[in-house]
């Protein structure tokens, strides 16, 4: 386990020194919900505010020039991180906004354009989607009369592609899928699915919330049209997300939010719009947050995404192995490391996840319990909720051991009495 110096990484995250419920070391295993932030990200934001703060793209004075340059440099960093062109990176407030942006923009598209969705068209999602990549499509389907159809999941937590060709049929205009499930840890075979999508000429939207933070993602290699992810899950600040889209698509799509800084000309009657990314960034942007995200990307690059991935794979493997030794425990999701990320969901016979999570919290271990914003998936697997441990670069084997010991203690606490 020497891909990089994990204890040096831990030292960069001040919150890891916190004591929980009295005197317990914080064992943070909830990075799938939101990651912690290194000092360098906080410093980048502070430096922006104390040295360069002004409205980017809106002033000719020195601070405004500097703010513009630093903000655009952050865009450049994010673009390079995912192998994109700089103008293909749109800053949003979150992955949720990114996906809604695409769905609303499609909904705004004129009849006859390739984005227009109408009754008879089909939108395809999957049973393992986070609500953020499900409900916007339900709503778009409702508004347009299109049909919402989905790929199922198999009992071992994989996407069922056996009927993919029937589901992704000629009527299909959009396929919206998650890159990695935030519950199961499953990584979906995007290039394979892309073939079905391309065959029918549909648009492919990828929810990359759980992939971009954890392993190298290159949009040129993924054969998709849009990807969405959040800054706060990849060491960045809250309040910033990213939509990447192919330039020729972004430049043709109708805008979503309208207002200042995204217009070409405006009269009282109507307005015309700038090309992407500005077209989709109405208003004074979330400058400090974009800058913080740029610093997060610098941090991840300094460690190296390949090493981070290796580290997480080893930890996850250990985590699954050790948890599986607890007789009452059932892993929900794949138990092999083939196409699998560092998210481990499980149930414990006779103990509700809420109670388990509460006990773990008492020992300083932060996990997520509940439906994980993937309620249909819970119903599919006939569980009310699961307990989820999610790993990141600052976790180590001691954290995994703490989890396992914690689960055993909790079990004995509830079932032993």
């Amino acid at each position: 386990m020497s891909h990089f110096d994990v204890s040096a990484v831990q030292a960069d995250f001040p919150i890891l020194k916190r004591l929980i419920r009295g005197n317990n070391r914080l064992v943070y295993l909830d990075s799938g919900a939101t990651s912690q932030k290194p000092i360098s990200v906080l410093d980048a934001e502070r430096e922006f505010y104390t040295q360069h703060n002004a409205a980017a793209h809106r002033g000719a004075h020195q601070l405004a020039e500097e703010a513009t340059e630093i903000f655009e440099a952050a865009r450049g960093k994010v673009a390079a991180f995912i192998g994109a062109k700089v103008d293909e990176v749109v800053f949003t407030k979150s992955a949720t906004e990114s996906i809604n942006l695409v769905a609303y923009s499609f909904g705004n598209a004129d009849l006859g354009t390739k984005f227009h969705i109408k009754a008879g068209d089909r939108i395809v999602v999957s049973e393992m989607e986070h609500h953020a990549n499900l409900i916007p499509w339900q709503e778009l389907a409702k508004r347009t009369g299109a049909e919402l159809v989905w790929l199922s999941v198999t009992d071992d937590g994989r996407l069922d592609l056996s009927n993919a060709e029937r589901i992704i049929n000629a009527k299909t205009k959009v396929v919206a899928l998650t890159h990695q499930s935030n519950v199961l840890g499953t990584i979906n075979p995007i290039n394979e699915i892309a073939k079905y999508v391309r065959n029918v000429g549909a648009l492919f939207v990828l929810d990359a919330c759980q992939s971009v933070p954890h392993y190298a993602v290159d949009v040129k290699e993924l054969d998709v049209d849009f990807i969405a992810f959040s800054g706060h899950k990849m060491l960045g600040p809250t309040g910033v997300g990213v939509l990447w889209g192919k330039q020729e698509l972004l430049d043709e799509m109708p805008p979503f939010l309208t207002g200042g800084s995204m217009i070409e000309t405006v009269t009282m009657e109507s307005a015309s719009y700038l090309p992407a990314p500005k077209r989709f960034e109405a208003g004074v942007p979330n400058m400090a947050q974009a800058v913080g995200l740029g610093a997060a990307v610098d941090y991840l690059n300094r460690i190296g995404m390949e090493k981070i991935h290796q580290h997480e794979v080893e930890l996850t493997k250990a985590c699954i192995e050790r948890l599986s030794q607890i007789p009452q425990l059932k892993i929900v999701g794949p138990t092999d490391m083939e196409l699998r990320g560092g998210v481990v969901s499980f149930t414990l016979d006779g103990i509700h996840p809420h109670d388990l999570g509460q006990a773990l919290d008492q020992y300083g271990i932060a996990v997520r319990t509940g439906h994980h914003c993937a309620w249909p998936l819970m119903k599919k697997y006939r569980v009310v909720a699961t307990t989820r441990a999610s790993l990141y670069l600052y976790n180590d084997l001691a954290d995994v051991e703490a989890l396992v010991t914690g689960v055993e203690r909790a079990r004995d606490y509830f079932l032993g009495r």
């Binding site: 419920r21 009295g22 509700h352 996840p353 809420h354 109670d355 509460q358 006990a359 008492q362 319990t369 509940g370 439906h371 309620w375 819970m378 009310v384 909720a385 606490y413 509830f414 009495r417």
Partner: protein
């Protein structure tokens, strides 16, 4: 240890042997409540006779706190009239929202005081309230039913 202040013996007892679990027929009102943040669900049947709670039966899935607290409320309110029942529910709710300052009046809440510790865990307050809010809702609905019937009779 703080975990014990949350998981009182009484709570774990009710969790293991929940009272009135399993829906009984002939209810006056049936309600279905969901804890939207975790997915826990409860269905509750309330049977009123002459303005008095004759029976509360329920079913559902949930954590020990929500199961035990539903068990407690279903026992506690049996035989009470609507007004008294609603007052007790308010007392329970106030205790849970007190952030730990209100330890509950055992003469009113009986086993319900065991949930006083939950108030210190804001994320769990909803669990403890699930069955109680369902009961409150059911009582309100049954009152509305009665007043409709009365209006029709006039």
């Amino acid at each position: 240890m703080e975990l014990d202040s949350l998981y009182q013996e009484v709570i774990l007892e009710h969790y293991k042997r929940p009272q009135n679990k399993g829906l009984l027929p002939n209810q006056t009102v049936q309600v279905h409540h969901v804890n939207t943040s975790c997915g826990d669900e409860i269905t509750l049947n309330l049977k009123m006779i002459n303005g008095t709670i004759a029976e509360i039966s329920w079913d559902g899935v949930g954590c020990s706190i929500s199961q035990a607290s539903t068990s407690v409320v279903s026992e506690l309110l049996k035989g009470k009239d609507s007004a008294a029942a609603l007052a007790i529910i308010d007392t329970f709710q106030a205790m849970l929202q007190s952030k730990g300052s209100d330890l509950g009046d055992e003469s009113v809440l009986e086993d319900g005081v065991a949930f006083a510790g939950v108030a210190k865990f804001p994320a769990r307050v909803k669990c403890a309230l699930l069955g109680w809010m369902a009961t409150k809702d059911a009582i309100s609905q049954s009152l509305a039913l009665t007043s409709n019937v009365k209006k029709e009779q006039r």
